[in-house]
Each structure stands twice: as structure tokens, then as C-alpha cells.
């Protein structure tokens, strides 16, 4: 059990003080280039590994940015996460990730846990939180960004888009192409608030366009994915043909519906239009391609990074609200 190699050990090997080693390893220009190189080399030889815990303790800065995602198995969130990792990595910040499984109670537990690590900022997906979560966060002077949503009552900064408004172009497009009897396929009321917002957006848009009331097809509790979409349609059976269009909460659900409908021998878009949400890969590749909404997942990540940069540089003094928008992508299912 060899004991850990510290800066002191490196310093002794180099024949200088720990302070010089510290400076050398941080590429401080006041240390001569020759010394820097020598320190680096000897540190490597000794297998020295820098201790960020000690640094975090001494400087009272953790170097962490905490992030909550509903699910790590989601191409959209993954893209945002990648953009965050890259951008924050350049600022020498490390992401501390937790996934909530779409449950606010889990989010609360997670935030509590993440906060003990003293993150320098907190990034939450979505704008719905328990009261306890809100009070955990408030009054800490900790920069907070809610993303993937435009909450009415934000905790701090916001980078997202309106999930409700994003559905209007779909309804418009369906109405223009002669569809009138719409059914929304999504999770049961409850956990997935962004899904609920999309549902409300569809209902409102349909009313505004004078379409009949939108039917609801329940795909079960969140998170819902391909198999839930398929199962929901199988449960409805061939009666599904009484609708003109299935407006789905996401592309995976839409793909599940598409498969189930095809299995029944119905034609898409001939008998039925199907739309998704999120511009997932499956929508671009499936046969036929699924009409969807592109949501700029990567851009959300980049904007959050830019915002954090501004915050750390002291250039942001009011709560920001960035709307990244969204756009209809017409495919072959409508």
C-alpha cells in the first residue's frame, strides 16, 4: 500500500519547494520554463496525480457544475449534455450529472445530494420543481439555469423554448393538409411536465383552428417511448382509423405508433397521419420519415455555456431568458 504522492514529494525530488511545484504544474509564467519542464517530468515519473479535492477545499471552489436530466437515455438530452461537457471543459469545469427519471421527488433528493458538493452552478432540466427543491436552491447565491422549458416563474436564468407553442405549427400543418380528427398520444397526466405542456399546446391550437376536440390516447406513466406508443395503439385496435392524425409527444412514441399502425395493415399517411417531436434520429431514418419538430438540443447546451461564462465573468446581473425556438420538419408521415 504505497502512500499517495503529493506535491511535497515532487518538490523533494526536484529539490525545490512545494510552492514552486504548485506554480509549475499550473504553468505559472513566473516559474522559469526550464523548472516547469523539470517539475512536469519528475511529477510524471513519480506518478503524481493532482488532488482536486484539496484544491477545492483550499480555494473554496469545487470546479463542479451540477446538472439534472430526466433521463440519460435520450438523444436530445445527450446532445445538450455533450455541448455542456465540451463548453464547460474548456472552462476547467466538470459536470456532475444526476438523472431524475422524470420524477420531481427524485429531483429533490438529487439536488440535495448535488448541493453538498458545492457546485459553482446548477443546471436543471425543466421548470417544475417541488417547493423543497425551490427553497433548497433559493438564497444561496448559486447561479441557477433551467433549460428545455420557459417556466412562468423561473428560479433564475432560463434557456429553452415553449413546449406548448412548439405544437401549433404541427396542428396548423395537419389542418392545412385536411386533417380534422386529431388524437394526442402521450404519457398519463403527472410526471412529464414538458409532455403535458405539449398536449395542452395541441388542444389549444386545435381549438383556435376550429377543429373538433382532440382525443387523448394514454401511453402510460412517463417516461414513454417506442414500445408504449406501439402498445397504446394496439390497445385502441383498428378503431384508430377513426382519427385523421396521431399527434405524438415524441418521435420514439410516434415511431411506436407508426409500427403498430403498419402492422394493422393501415397506410401512413394514406389512412392516418402521424407526427412526433424532437427530431430524433429514428424520425429521419424510419420508412416513412416522421414529421417532427426540431428543438436545437445542442444549441441549448451552447447557450447555457455562454450564459455561464457571462455569469462567472460578472457580466450578467439580471435573470436571463433565452428562447432557442423550434421548427416544424415535415416528413413523409403527414
Amino acid at each position: 500500500m504505497s502512500t499517495r504522492v503529493t506535491m511535497r514529494d515532487v518538490a523533494e525530488a526536484v529539490g525545490m519547494s512545494p510552492m514552486t511545484v504548485s506554480r509549475a504544474l499550473r504553468e505559472d509564467r513566473t516559474v522559469s520554463a526550464k523548472t516547469r519542464a523539470r517539475v512536469r517530468q519528475i511529477a510524471d515519473e513519480l506518478g503524481y496525480v493532482y488532488d482536486s479535492t484539496a484544491q477545492a477545499f483550499r480555494t473554496q471552489k469545487s470546479g463542479f457544475v451540477a446538472v439534472t436530466l430526466p433521463s440519460i437515455n435520450n438523444a436530445n438530452f445527450a446532445e445538450t449534455f455533450r455541448a455542456l461537457t465540451n463548453g464547460l471543459g474548456e472552462m476547467s469545469l466538470q459536470l456532475l450529472l444526476g438523472s431524475t427519471n422524470y420524477r420531481v421527488a427524485r429531483e429533490e433528493e438529487l439536488v440535495r445530494q448535488l448541493l453538498t458538493r458545492n457546485p459553482e452552478a446548477l443546471i436543471l432540466t425543466g421548470g417544475h420543481h417541488t417547493d423543497a427543491t425551490r427553497s433548497l436552491i433559493q438564497g444561496r447565491g448559486l447561479p441557477v439555469i433551467e433549460m428545455w422549458d420557459l417556466p412562468a416563474d423561473p428560479l433564475g436564468h432560463v434557456v429553452g423554448f415553449s413546449n406548448g407553442d412548439a405544437m401549433a405549427p404541427i396542428v396548423d400543418h395537419l389542418a392545412r393538409t385536411g386533417r380534422r380528427k386529431l388524437a394526442f398520444v402521450g404519457a398519463s397526466e403527472g410526471a412529464d411536465m414538458r409532455g403535458a405542456a405539449r398536449r395542452a399546446g395541441v388542444v389549444a391550437a386545435a381549438r383556435a383552428r376550429g377543429l373538433p376536440e382532440v382525443a387523448m390516447i394514454d401511453a402510460g406513466p412517463a417516461p414513454v417511448s417506442m414500445r408504449h406508443g406501439a402498445a397504446a395503439i394496439e390497445a385502441v385496435g383498428r378503431d384508430v382509423a377513426r382519427y385523421d392524425a396521431l399527434v405524438c409527444v415524441s418521435d420514439p412514441v410516434a415511431f411506436g405508433c407508426l409500427s403498430a399502425v403498419q402492422r394493422m395493415g393501415l397506410r401512413v399517411p394514406g389512412d392516418l397521419a402521424i407526427t412526433g417531436f424532437g427530431h430524433f434520429e429514428v424520425a429521419k431514418v424510419s420508412h416513412p420519415r416522421i414529421t417532427t419538430v426540431n428543438v436545437q438540443a445542442e444549441d441549448i447546451g451552447r447557450q447555457v455555456v455562454t450564459l455561464l461564462q457571462g455569469i462567472f465573468d460578472g457580466e450578467v446581473d439580471t435573470a436571463m431568458r433565452v428562447d432557442v425556438g423550434s421548427e416544424l420538419v415535415v416528413g413523409e408521415t403527414s
Copy 2:
């Protein structure tokens, strides 16, 4: 800017020593119940927040377990990750996640970064690493587990399965059902070592069964997914019909191939069989369902947790090697 409330402040307010506060907050039974309650209450009143950075520093235990994944946007890895999160959460350990984007150089950088946080264990996906990564890890007395693979020369413990051997049942199944002219669809030689192992497994199994040499269809650099599978088949064009079966490196790639083949008007499995790997949702839902291999992603996570428990309890003294196996799941594409 109020300065931070520490145990010392709480101690002064309570009229006792910081040591007693420390014990009280950890619910140490040697502190009287009355004192514990009083300390808790006053701590809350003062808005005291426990500093786990200081704890990690003092005890030299970070409470972190570091994990590298090739990609966070992968249903299989996500399932393993969820099992790890749940299991380790019960042991009060927090996951520190990094994604390598299937690049060993990125893995090296990541491991370097993760190690500075003093993790209590390191979990790597896959068994291929740079020499520098290996030497960073060796000789630190840090528990290491490689998962999703059965490397010949492991760094420490292993929980996985043989990616090569897992392909033999597919080739057997195809041969039994009369397919002879196989083509493998996967990433170019290089980054994705598990993909390369699968390819080698197919080639070896085909030889063993006396089938003609397996053709290679290159889907580009890793990671490859749905769109790369589709593009690869589009590039080949209708000539693809000269093969009996497309053996794909993963289900998403298989789905891409399936769509492209269907778009050309060819029938699956009539004109061509298609197989995938990983038992992804898309394989179960697509029409037709894709023949695949189930790889027990969740079980890998659970086994890693059990192993870590044993290690921390000092019950494991030799390097363990757990093979979770895999099984053929015949669908409708073959």
C-alpha cells in the same frame, strides 16, 4: 456577502465544541439524544450547510465512483448506468460520469481528470486503453472494474461478456435458415473495439461453418447509428440483394439498414435477412422486429455493484471475472 456558517459557529451557538457538533450531526450515539436534537435545531436556524468537500479532504474518501461510458446516448449503457446509480446510491456513493465518445485518447484525458477527484473505485467500459491510461491506473490500490467486455489482459476486475462469441449464435441461426452470403455492417476499423470484436466473431463463426468469406460494408467511423446504417446501404444500392443476410454491429445500425432496404422495395426477410445486436427497443418495436442478441445491460450494472460491495467489505482478494453471457433473440427479420 455573509461568510459561510461552519461547525465552529454552530458549536459556539450551542455552547459546545465543534467535535460534539460533528458527532451530533452524524447521529453518533455517544452524543446524548438531547444534545443531538439541540445541535440539529440550531444548525438549521443558522442555515448551516454541511461541507462534504472538507469531509472528503479530511477523510481522504471522496464518496465518488468514477465511470466512463463510450456514449451517454445509448439505451444499453443507460440501463447499466441506472443500475449503478441505484445500487451505489444505497451505499452513499455518487457516480462521477464521463463519456469518451468511443476514443481511447479521450478516455485517457477523462481518466486523468476523474482520478484528480479521488474516486473510491473506477469503472471503465471496455477493455482497450492507451498505455498511459493503464499506467495512470496501475499501482494506485484503486479498485478497477472493466465492464461490457472480457479483456484478455484486464486491469483488475471484469464484468462483461465476449463480444466475439456472442455473434456465433447469429451466424449459426442464419446458416441453419439457409443464408450463406453474409455481409457485416459496422464502423470502420479503429475506435469501436467492441464492434471490431463482433466483426471478428462473425468472420470466425462463418469460417467455422464453411460459409463463404463475409463481406464488409463500412458505415464510417464510430459511433455508428441508424443513419449510418441507412447511408451505407444506400451507397451499396440494389446490389445489396446479392447478399443473403446483413449482420449488423448493433440494432440501431440494423434498423437503418432495414429502412434503406425497405425503401428500395426489397423485402425483409424475403430477399434479405437482417440482424442486429443489443436488444434495443427499436428492435422490439420495428416492423418487422429485428433478430438480435440480448446483452443483460442492467445485470452488468447490478453485478458491478455487488462486486464493489464485496471489495469495500474486504471480501474480495483476487481479481474477479464475471461473464454475464448473452442470448440470441430471433425476430422477424431472419
